[in-house]
Amino acid sequence: MSVEKQKTKILIVDDEKGIRIGTKSLLEDEGYDVSVADCGNKGIELGTSSEFDIAIIDLKMPDVDGLEVLSKIKSTFPNTICFIATAYASYETAIESTRLGAFGYIPKPFSPEELIYQVEQGIKQRNLILEAARLKQEREEKLLEIASEKSRLNTIIKSINEGVLVINLNGELSYFNYAALRYLNIQSIKIGEYVLEKLPIEIIELFNKITSADKYLLKTYSKQIEILPNNELVIEAACTPVPNPDGSLAGIVLILSNITQFKKIELIKSQFVSMVAHELKTPIAAVQGFINIILDDSIHLDREKEKEYLQRASVRLKNLTALVNDLLDISRMELKTKQREIEAVNLEEIINSTIQFLEFEISNKKINVDKNFQTNLPPIYADVNEISRLFTNLISNAIKYNKENGSIYITAHQEDDYINIKIRDTGIGMKPEEKEKLFNEFYRAKNEKTRGISGTGLGLSIVKKIVESYNGKIEVDSRYEYGTTFTIHLPINHN
């Protein structure tokens, strides 16, 4: 764009040479940029090929009539200000030329002052038209922007995961999205319909709480609502007043979130806490029971029996301590607060020292342990304490659930980037339904064969957590009364 203000462009269409030259030089002296056409056709050509601010068109020309020139220019550039100049002014032509879009009518002959005055009026008119057009365009752009903003908001509200419902004071629906229908388990609702009767009682209560107050507070009230029974669908409805521009209450907006998963986790958590409490209370009850018996005046125990009961109480306390330690381990693993020391761990060494650690239990039950390790088994990168814990839990299970004179077979070999370790026992095995629950916290197979076997019920749950924390996998295969095989796939490098 030029910094200088653009000169006003004027087109003169006249077949009279004298007028053309005179007018041109007059207007050029006034600082205008003037073009001329000596006939109607030339006038059309010039006037429609580029936009002029002003055109002064002679009415009578030999080839094309001035009105036609006017009409052609106007239809190409409606904002060009056109004057009709004529010596044959008539009422009809004046009307006709105005109808075709002429701004003014200049009777010939005209004085220079008169012409300049008319041109100036034309320029004013042109500026007004251009300004109006500019404002109009601006307004249209704004409207378009608003429309697209509105549709964008609509799209956002329609695609969010939360349900949205806007209800006016009469209980009529003003706005909703489809997530709201889904979360309320409603087939259809319409804007404008009385919607309260379709909503759960809890939402109606929220609505009433806000709308019936003398003075509403700009505050959100929320409730958890079970939409489908058995916690199949639970939502949280948050209800907030919507004010009018003058501050009075217009209605309410409801935001509905699906909290089913959250409720499920909450339930699992509270069940876990119940189980923990039960598992902690049982050994305490047993210890308390032994103390009660020893203190009871009507029971007379000899020294030997008393000692036996104290020893049994001590075993229960030891198991209780083991349980607390297991719980702490699980919690640390879940919170990932345990600082790991990753180093090269030789699995054969770990397993051998675990067997040594459990030597007493193994020889007590006269169990034969058979090992078969691939030669040059590469080490895995892991925390030695965790890996040692893993095998202690698995091998001690293989002993505990084994038969007298049973066997334990341990093999390890490499497969691609993994080491596969199998621990097979010839113990009591598991029924399929027991196998399913095996890794659950506090699950312990309870049947005639497992009676008297102690454990915290957390051992395998810890094993699974350790294996999975190394991106490994654990599988179990079992035949009731014949034995169980655990297979662990541990990556050599878990990162």
Partner: protein
Amino acid sequence: MDPKEIKKILLVDDDIDLLEQNKLLLESRGFKVVTADSEREGFKAFEKELPDAAIIDLIMEQMDSGFILSYKIKKTEHGKKIPVFILTSATYETGFKFSSSSSEEKDWLKCDGILNKPVVIDELIAKLESFTA
């Protein structure tokens, strides 16, 4: 039934320590005690011994083994006449919501009361006797 008539009590618990403790305590109070350590063995012992009362641990093989056993006992002719109590450490404060106060629940559970572990023996005996009184 006259309280003096309670002579033989069936105790069922899969925790052998608790089983032995409660047996000793009850015997020291002059009762004859029959024990079993599972729901199945418990019902066998009930049929064989026809005890005057039964005290059953709740969580054995199953989470609700005790309720199953008490239900089975209460369905027999003899079972209808005797007090059956469930003994558990899984009471209200552990998150399990059963109370011995609701008669509706008791009817459904078919037992005559739920007692907390560890048991205070004289309270237990008072409960048994109040049932028959």
